[in-house]
Amino acid sequence: MKVLVVDDSLTMRRILRNVLLEMGITDVEEAGDGEEAVAKTARGAYDLALMDWNMPKMLGLDALVAIRARGDKVPIIMVTTEAEKKRVLEALQAGANNYVIKPFDKAQLVAKIRQVTGLG
């Protein structure tokens, strides 16, 4: 399984990478903003993307819209501090497969990753 972790914080990318490692997922790539995420998903096939919302250059939501606009169905979980209901709805309507609010419970994140990837 190949996963793209998208967050402008190096620390947050490390946290998410470690959660994936604990799940046995070692093929992990990183992007520091939405633009990089759009470019990387265009070049390579991923089985999952974990996407922050607030990032420089391009917001995670805009990256999500761009990725879906070209027909890419890679499962995307938004992982963000944006907790308002209208934000959650906005992301789900734009094609996010699930939504995790920071600070998150690790077990909850793992469950959502398993759900959207079909890991069981």
């Binding site: 620390t11 501090t81 920071k102 600070p103």
Partner: protein, 161 residues
Amino acid sequence: MDVRFINPFVESVLAFFDKMMGIQVERRAPGLAREATRPAEITGLIGIGGPIRGAVALGFPAGTALALASKMTGVESKVVDDATCDAVAEAVNIVAGGAKAKLVTEDQTPANLSLPSVVRGGDYAVVHPKGSIWIEIPFYSDIGPFTVRVTLESGPVGGGR
């Protein structure tokens, strides 16, 4: 300052440290923060704007900050460096972000957050502008002590002072 604004930060600290990072924390009694001539060695700070305005600061002794950075990144931090500061910035970002959803006015207008910033080194003084009230909440944890300081006001700009 409306003390109802304190609970969202306490809840967010507990969610971040305990549920997300697996660090046991214990809250001590909050009180009015005094102006500090020996402030925390590493402080992460975020400004809050909109109908509810103010700031939140997480202050760490170096040992706690290093242990937190190690826990967050999975790589042992031995000296305070950019990685430590990035971890503290992300910690205050997550804590403030977690509290933000509950910082709404009666018409449900949400607060806005600034980008986080980090101050390091103990050779500075913290001075509170006249009329501002900072609440300090001390925490003890598996990785050492730290404090959360919050100042907030609501209503029209310039009101409540």
